[in-house]
Amino acid sequence: MTVPLLELSGVGKQFGGLSALSEVSLHIKRGEIYGLIGPNGAGKTTLFNVITGLYQLNAGEFNFNGRSYQTPKPHFLAQAGIARTFQNIRLFANLTALENVMIGRHVRTKAGVFGALLRNKSTRNEERASTERARELLRYVGIVKAHQTLAKNLSYGEQRRLEIARALATDPLLLALDEPAAGMNATETESLKVLLQDIRSTGITVMLIEHDVKLIMGLCDRVAVLDYGRKIAEGVPDEVRQNPAVIAAYLGVDDAA
């Protein structure tokens, strides 16, 4: 039980000559809500993309659920149990909400070409189970009424929720959210908070990047702060809030001053 779900040690990532991340080490425990904050350009999204396999790390170690990954591809990590949402919402725009979530089931289902052509009993069962599970998840995030609506015709808040439902459909161990509250008003943010707490209560570990410091502090069990591609602080929200390095980073004060 003491083994963390996700463990990064000494992770580095360069783009050309530019170092976006260096020597980042952190771990996320099972069942916690873990927040990642930092000023603009601190490397949050880069780190997030490393964790979800979109970027390949240049240095360091990446362990997830007791396994080590060298250059994991996104679909491989989704299979392993990491699901994500995107900062600038990336739904399958011309497919319905239901289909979007059913695509999330892809990784937990098996039917291949022959299954599709023969539509045998196991395929039919699988298909029915996928549809049901997708409906259930849409109901869970509160947009089941819109199941036949194209993703691009949903409202902004509904699209955010659909992304979460789609991610949950992959039966993740770790749900990684990239600025889930971006563009939301206070009521929407509050209901998002309730939803995330509920997701955690079902045993899913949650990690999120967020600009809304209030949301992070009110929601997360532990928070890490990135600045200039390095982790400058980590701990429970109150601790982090009082960390002088964090204050300096956010206020733009030079460390020496």
């Binding site: 989704a78 699901a83 990336r90 739904l91 497919l95 289909e99 892809h106 289902t109 996928s130 194209l150």
Partner: protein, 373 residues
């Protein structure tokens, strides 16, 4: 309004209308023969082949969103596959090995050609599928040209393809010992060769439609569409985008290959000029013009673009005669001119195709619903 917008999609056709349609299609060659002449039945046969090709390409372009400009190459692979194995030609290339050529049964060659074309699809796809869309387009185009150039030139030092002259005397297709190249009488009904081929092609086209439909509404089909919509999001959802794109390529190529064998058997003759880039473009136009991703739209596109040039061929000369009293303009170029204009006009007025996929249609409906509310 809703029914007008969604024929076949929103409302399921009843069993009765289906039977009626089926009967109409069965009578089609006889009606065409009686009204327009036998030449038009032959044109219908070609239209069926084009529909098969368009449906095959629709898997690649319409479902998986991969722009393929060299699709006709797979058609060529299938056609040459049967041309080589079902004609006396191999006697020229390997006189010792096959003194009379190799005369394999058509029904044996079909699966072989499907596998071979599918193999070519994977071979082409494997190194190129990580390219962005337009690069993929140009690579597939290049591949199509490479295949054509090889067909044109592989008559020396070993005469494999007989070069620009092409391969002739290909065995006709026969079913249950009955050759389709001769008029047959079945249950007292006289069936000319073109009618027989029509039914054969109809059967294959129906099979292709069935496969397309099953794939579209399956886990695989949804994964393809996810890749089409957003590849990064798709891979983050656990879809192995590379393998699924390869699968789309291979499936599309197989359809192309099978159509190619039918083409070779029907014509009894193949030559490289049937597989020019213009043919690839033509098939792509069928898919896009008809309505990418929608099986019915693609069928309509295939039918229209296969028939339109023929209709124009038969109407531009009489039309000019009627208007000017003589043939002023070269009918061939006038025909193509009108064809090109039709492509432009249709696209300008229906950018999503004549019969868009259900997705676009539903969009129209929701817009309408929104207006009512």
């Amino acid at each position: 309004m809703k029914q007008l917008l969604s024929p076949g999609g929103g409302t399921q056709p009843t069993k009765f209308t289906l039977c009626l349609m089926f009967a109409a299609v069965l009578l089609l060659p006889f009606a065409t023969d009686a009204l327009l002449g036998r030449g038009w039945v032959r044109i219908m046969d070609f239209a069926m082949l084009y529909i098969m090709l368009a449906l095959g390409l629709n898997i690649v372009v319409g479902y998986a969103g991969l722009l393929d400009l060299g699709y006709i190459a797979f058609f060529a692979v299938g056609a040459y596959c049967y041309a080589l194995t079902g004609s006396p030609h191999l006697a020229l290339a390997f006189p010792l090995l096959f003194p009379d050529g190799l005369h394999l049964s058509f029904w044996l060659v079909v699966p072989l050609a499907a596998l071979l074309a599918g193999g070519f699809g994977v071979l082409l796809g494997a190194p190129t599928l990580r390219l962005r869309g337009d690069y993929l387009a140009i690579v597939t185009l290049g591949f199509g040209e490479i295949i054509r150039i090889f067909m044109n030139n592989l008559n020396a030092p070993i005469n494999l393809t007989n070069g620009p002259q092409g391969i002739s005397r290909i065995d006709p297709i026969s079913m249950a010992g009955v050759s389709l190249n001769a008029t047959q009488e079945i249950f007292g009904i006289v069936l000319p060769s073109v009618h027989l081929y029509f039914y054969l092609f109809l059967g294959f086209a129906a099979l292709v439609v069935f496969v397309s439909q099953r794939l579209e509404k399956s886990r695989i089909g949804r994964a393809w569409m996810a890749i089409r919509e957003d590849e990064i999001a798709a891979s983050s959802m656990g879809i192995n985008t590379r393998n699924l794109k390869l699968l789309a390529f291979a499936m599309g190529a197989m359809f192309g290959g099978v159509s190619g064998t039918l083409f070779a058997g029907f014509q009894g003759f193949v030559s490289p000029e049937s597989f020019s880039l213009m043919e690839s473009i033509m098939v792509l136009c069928m898919v896009v013009l008809g309505g990418m991703g929608n099986i019915y739209g693609v069928i309509l596109g295939g039918l229209l673009l296969a028939l339109l040039p023929e209709v124009l061929r038969h109407s531009v000369v009489p039309l000019q005669q009627a208007l000017f009293g003589k043939t002023l303009i070269d009918p061939e170029s006038l025909r193509m001119l009108l064809f090109g204009t039709a492509l432009i006009v249709v696209m300008l007025y229906r950018p999503a195709g004549i019969w868009p996929s259900r997705v676009r249609r539903r969009e129209l409906e929701t817009d309408e619903a929104a207006e009512i509310v």
